[in-house]
């Protein structure tokens, strides 16, 4: 059932586009049908898959290359699938109202559903290469969604940054996958997870492979120092931000780490890389979030921080860490997605996302306010919310570490987590207080001029309510949902026991401490914001931009050197290179290889025709005008044609003749437009240079022809062709080769022709559309 669902989602995007959904008022509900169907089906699988069953599916694509689409639905795939499809359902409804009558709603849906397909494929793929393809699918749709507003320069730059960073990471990851495939002897994920862990971790290539794979995961999940692309991606329409850049796509890296966790988690490199990078990302994201005033920017940096938490948790190979990661993933998706959606509604209703201009929205938009408060309290991690449970587990992980004897590491982690937790509390409070609860804003207050309909808020409320209810039904779902997903990450059975209330434990007291600290930061927020504004910010973006600029510089320099100069230079480079390579290859035994039959007496035309060609070539060089030059050039071509005739190659002769005539006329058409004074004689030294180049190239062509005539280096294929031509129902070997034996080549060639025709068409059109200052010296051609 997995492939049909992927196909359904893939097709529903374009189908919706064709239906022009912006014309009807409530298209979002129709759009939500297919993801809702997938969600419903996944929920029915919760019983079986949650108990440890695994659904597999194989679609063979190319037997010869061993390529097949392998899909596998286990606990982890189901867990992520539910997040992707479930939140996708809410987003589909939400987007219908967000875009209202915008005619690009259909295009948005096409992108959204393509993304959804890629994301589900990513979490269901059981093959490293298939996973990579889906991974790139999410990158491309993300690029298109960020640059959705084509007139916005920020959006285009943000899209480019996001794509280049995640794309480079993905390429590194592909390299890592290939190494991994070679090491394990299989590209099947379940296959390599079934290997004894030591086969991989003890392998000589383990370190480079792991570094490459981690690069892919870290760039995708916006880990420090690659985190900068995520806030830049906020130029995307809010439904895309809420879905891709907080709930699902950025978790692809986390998913990959979780998926490969059983195989790698025992390696110290894995632990330190994830622990350090995740920990740093967590702190950096949390701190930077306080500097910002844009709702979406705050939420974006908070997302960066949360992704850091998840990566850091996956460093550990313990039950409590894995439980904390799984709960954290779902809790985050269920509060951050809605918060982004709230930001979108606020933007929609007031026209701004700057919290300095917002106030009292809880009164003017009560439903939105309710959703924001429910989700915000969860983000702050205040009891009794889902976010609270996630934070308790996070703290428990470090307490367990201290108890296990690794007290240094445990204390460092604990302090970092408490600090981060306090900052989470602080900006949750800032968000709720400043935008929703306080009575007036410091800057000119924005008013609600466009109240959202209840249906617009409904998907947001639904998600927050699901998030709020889950902690009260832990006993019903903890095994099927968290247990089965966690077991897949741990590689061993995990039976979590989650609860809202554990009593007055040290963990709970620490949690209270974080809340108190957060409240303190909240009250002192003005001073702290000023302090942070002064502190230097790590600008990954600046580094990246200057690197890209440098790359462009190199490209411009090489283009200028190789292609920027005049046409003679451009054409001499490949010709001289070819001559040089030939001379290098033949430097030792050129004379020995030469076999010339001096006794043959040349016939009359064998003497006259080359002489004619030589005279014509000299005439080209000495021509005073373009027209005489191209006519002489045509003469050379005609001589070549005559040679074909005498050596009985009628097809070639015919083609040569036709091409000669047509190029001659085309050149005349072109030169007709260029004034003749633009045909200056080159200065003496340059003439000499061209003469030298021509002689070298001529000598090269001559010696090549001589060598080829003297000794057939390899056995000729022409015999095969002439023997088999009749079998191919043809008497004309040239044509049979073109359309039958080498038909695939010809197909490629005519495809190139079509592309060249379109390109040439566009170029010629463009030059005509651009107004050019009229040239007085040029007279209109008489026929025009």
């Amino acid at each position: 059932m997995l492939t049909p669902f992927l196909l359904l989602l893939l097709l529903s995007g374009p189908a919706l586009w064709l239906l022009r959904p912006h014309r009807w008022g409530h298209a979002g509900w129709l759009a939500a049908l297919s993801p809702a169907l997938v969600t419903g089906w996944l929920l029915t699988q919760l019983g079986a898959v949650g108990n440890g069953q695994v659904l597999t599916e194989q679609r063979v694509w190319s037997d010869a290359f061993g390529l097949a689409l392998d899909l596998r639905l286990d606990g982890l795939g189901l867990f992520f699938g539910l997040i992707v499809a479930g939140i996708g359902t809410a987003i589909a409804v939400y987007a219908g109202y967000y875009f209202e009558k915008n005619s690009r709603l259909g295009y948005f849906y096409a992108l959204l559903f393509t993304f959804m397909t890629s994301m589900l494929g990513l979490v269901w793929a059981d093959n490293l290469l298939a996973l990579f393809v889906f991974w790139e699918g999410t990158s491309i749709t993300s690029y298109l969604l960020i640059s959705f507003k084509l007139t916005d320069k920020n959006a285009l730059e943000g899209a480019r940054r996001a794509f280049v960073v995640t794309g480079m990471g993905a390429l590194a990851m592909l390299g890592g996958f290939v190494l991994l495939g070679q090491m394990a002897g299989t590209y099947s994920i379940s296959g390599l997870l079934a290997l004894p862990a030591a086969t991989l971790t003890q392998h000589a290539l383990f370190t480079p492979m792991l570094v490459l794979v981690l690069l892919g995961a870290f760039t995708k999940s916006a880990q420090f120092p690659f985190h900068f692309w995520l806030p830049g991606a906020m130029a995307a329409p809010t439904p895309a931000s809420a879905y891709l850049h907080s709930a699902t796509m950025v978790k692809a890296g986390v998913y990959l780490l979780a998926r490969l966790h059983p195989a790698f988690a025992e390696s110290p490199l894995w632990f330190w890389a994830l622990f350090v990078v995740g920990g740093l990302t967590m702190l950096v994201g949390a701190v930077i979030a306080l500097r910002h005033y844009d709702l979406k920017a705050i939420l974006a940096y908070a997302t960066v921080s949360q992704l850091g938490v998840l990566v850091m948790l996956l460093a550990f190979n313990t039950k409590v860490a894995v439980t904390a990661a799984v709960v954290g993933i779902l809790a985050h998706a269920l509060y951050k997605g809605p918060l982004f959606m709230v930001a979108g509604i606020v933007d929609h209703a007031t026209g701004t996302r700057d919290i300095r201009k917002l106030a009292g929205l809880a009164r003017s938009l009560p439903l939105v306010g309710a959703a924001a408060i429910l989700a915000g309290v969860s983000m702050a991690g205040i009891i009794p919310t889902f976010g609270f449970v996630a934070k308790e587990l996070l703290l428990e992980n470090f307490f367990a570490l201290i108890e296990a004897g690794q007290s240094q590491l445990g204390w460092i982690g604990l302090v970092a987590v408490v600090l981060t937790g306090a900052l989470f509390v602080a900006y949750s409070l800032i968000l709720l207080w400043e935008a929703f609860l306080r009575r007036s804003s410091p800057l000119k207050q924005a008013t609600v001029h466009h109240a959202p309909s209840t249906l617009f808020v409904l998907p947001v409320l639904a998600l927050t309510i699901v998030g709020a209810l889950i902690p009260f039904f832990f006993s019903a779902i903890e095994g099927a949902l968290f247990g089965s997903a966690g077991s897949a990450i741990l590689g061993a059975t995990l039976e979590p026991h989650l609860a809202l209330w554990h009593g007055w434990t040290p963990i709970f007291l620490t949690s209270l401490l974080a809340i108190a600290l957060g409240a303190l930061v909240f009250t002192q927020r003005e001073g702290i914001r000023k302090l942070f504004a002064k502190a230097p910010e790590f600008k990954g973006q600046t580094v990246f931009d200057s690197a890209v600029d440098a790359l462009y510089g190199v490209a411009r320099w090489s283009t200028r050197t190789v292609q920027g100069s005049s046409f003679p230079t451009q054409i001499s480079i490949p010709l001289l290179a070819a001559a040089g390579f030939a001379a290098f290859a033949l430097r030792h035994n050129f004379i020995a290889d030469l076999r010339v039959d001096w006794s043959a007496v040349p016939t009359f035309y064998e003497v006259v025709l080359p002489l004619l060609a030589v005279v014509a070539a000299l005439a080209i060089a000495r021509a005073q005008s373009r027209l005489s030059a191209i006519i002489s050039l045509g003469l050379v071509g005609s001589v070549v044609m005559l040679i074909y005739v005498f050596f009985s190659a009628p097809d070639l002769a015919l083609t040569q003749f036709l091409v000669e005539v047509l190029t001659l006329v085309l050149l005349v058409f072109v030169f007709y437009r260029i004034p003749n004074h633009a045909y200056p004689k080159p200065p003496k030294h340059r003439s000499l240079k061209y003469l030298l180049i021509s002689l070298v190239v001529g000598a090269w062509g001559f010696s090549m022809a001589l060598l080829a005539a003297g000794e057939p280096l390899a056995q000729s294929i022409s015999e095969y062709f002439s023997l088999n031509a009749t079998a191919a129902h043809g008497g004309n070997i040239v044509n049979v080769i073109l359309v039958d034996f080498r038909g695939f080549d010809t197909l490629g060639e005519i495809s190139v022709m079509v592309v060249a025709a379109l390109g040439g068409y566009a170029l010629l059109r463009a030059s005509r559309l651009r107004p050019v200052k009229p040239d007085k010296k040029y007279k209109e051609p008489p026929h025009a």
Partner: protein, 143 residues
Amino acid sequence: MPELYLALLDRILTPVLLLLAVIFLLAGHNAPGGGFIAGLVVASAFLMQILARGDAFVRRLIGPYLQPLMGAGLLIAAASSLAGIGRYGQFFEGVWWQLQLGGRAWEFGSPALFDIGVFLVVSTFVTSYLLELSRPAKEGGRK
């Protein structure tokens, strides 16, 4: 104003060239010719027309069909490669059909179809360049 002698020549030459192209296209598999050459011959027939009657006339005549025909040619060529899959399970394997008509066997095969595709692409490719480049340089454009 097109030249008079060209207009006269065009009356005679264009039908001859087009007929020649058809012969090249159909006989090409066994005698000199083929889709590529036939395409070039058709292009030179249009070249004749452009020289004799002006580019605007030819553009009115065939301009709108050039790009669709080019696409159709590519499509036909690509589709003909699939015939082999249907018959022999082999990509690009030539498939031939025989037809008894008028006392002799007529053969038609997927390579011939492929050749027609090549013909369409080549003829429209060259003609579209001829038309674009022969366009008089006014219309506020590059002079």
